[in-house]
Symmetry: C2
Subunit: 205 residues, 2 copies
DNA sequence: GGCAATTTTTACCATTTGGTAAAGACACGA
DNA sequence: TCGTGTCTTTACCAAATGGTAAAAATTGCC
């Protein structure tokens, strides 16, 4: 039984847990937590439902596992914001990385968005212990940059919110963006250029 | 039977349909379409489940009714964007109105966000017939303003996206914002000031 | 007050869904 | 090859859920 924090997982265990998590990411991000069913996940993973419950204790554990895994990837671009780099370039680089993530990992973006949208019922602790300290730290970094005169002064907290909002929008509201930008062959490039302009004008001292 | 487009609705009908829709907005916005149950809606409305199904054909009809109703309210600030007004003031006013809506109508914002997040399964037609023409029209207005030199030139489509994203973020990601801004007594004011600064710097010619 | 139409309740039902028990298939080291 | 532990399937189940039928209550008009 591959339950708690037992010994090292077998090759089959690793493969199947991977299959399940990938399938679950698909299904959860498409239908939300309640909208997703174990049967859908099972079919997407190519396994039987009881077999899935052999690897995970239940639907909720799959979801939480996914969320925990995601947090790392998700915060990584913010982690790499370098206090010793060129302030404006650091911010613009961060915007770019977040925008790339919205394009390359839309399922992850939507999974996260869905969880927050419903009040973060399965993630509130993680927000406080994982996100909050990092957020405060990077706000302080940005504040220092502004005090040095390397960036125009704005509230760093709302600055970060606006970066998150504008980049993730392209993943989370894709259904809408697709309707309104129907035949634009270079949506990503257009967004990248627009956001670079916006944050450059905002932050140039 | 208060079914199709019959005669004028009775007073009871008007009241109860109102109760149901308000309760449903609560429940749907909190748990999403699949996560919401008729029992929850019934309890929130103070009516029995079969009684609810006396006024609406089913869960889906309630949801769709809500979405359709919402569209009007939702697009209103964009409708009132006046081609003959002062360009920058018009945009800033639009931002402000959207931000106020995020504060005053968070349930509506989250209902909408949840629907789009899942691919707009019950709203795609409305996006094409209602939103798209308005979006194109207002993009054209903004483009004219830019060509006249009244605004700095940026892609109007991404400009509008960034307004939507940054304002709705405060409603849709409230669970996150609340954690990160825990003891800020003036979140709304701070956001308003930040966004005014951002869009002013972006658009000032 | 009487009566038809409207509204509400009671008692159900079929399906879906998360989950379990236990038997069976399989892998792999001795 | 044999046996032990790992993995998978089959056959279920109880609860939740969207929905219905029809009786009972209520409303509103004459």
């Amino acid at each position: 039984m591959p339950d708690g924090a037992d010994k090292k997982p077998s090759r089959i265990q690793q493969r199947n847990r991977g299959l399940i998590l990938d399938a679950a990411l698909d299904v959860f991000s498409k239908h939300g937590y309640r909208g997703a069913t174990l049967d859908q996940i099972a079919e997407a993973a190519g396994l039987s439902k009881p077999n899935i419950l052999y690897y995970f204790d239940g639907k909720e554990e799959i979801h939480v596992t996914l969320l925990n895994q995601l947090m790392e990837t998700w915060l990584d671009p913010l982690v790499t914001l370098d206090p010793d780099g060129d302030p404006l370039q650091e911010i613009l680089g961060y915007v770019q990385r977040k925008l790339d993530m919205a394009r390359d990992l839309p399922r992850e973006s939507r999974l996260f968005a869905g969880e927050i949208l419903q009040g973060a019922p399965r993630m509130a602790p993680h927000l406080v212990t994982g996100l909050q300290p990092l957020f405060d730290e990077k706000c302080a970094v940005i504040r220092v940059w502004m005090e040095k005169g390397a960036l125009a002064t704005v509230d760093p907290r709302h600055l970060i919110f606006s970066i998150w909002a504008t980049t993730q929008h392209y993943a989370d509201f894709d259904a809408q963006v697709q309707v309104l930008l129907r035949d634009d062959p270079d949506r990503h490039g257009g967004a990248a250029e627009y956001l670079a302009t916006m944050f450059t004008k905002l932050l140039s001292p």
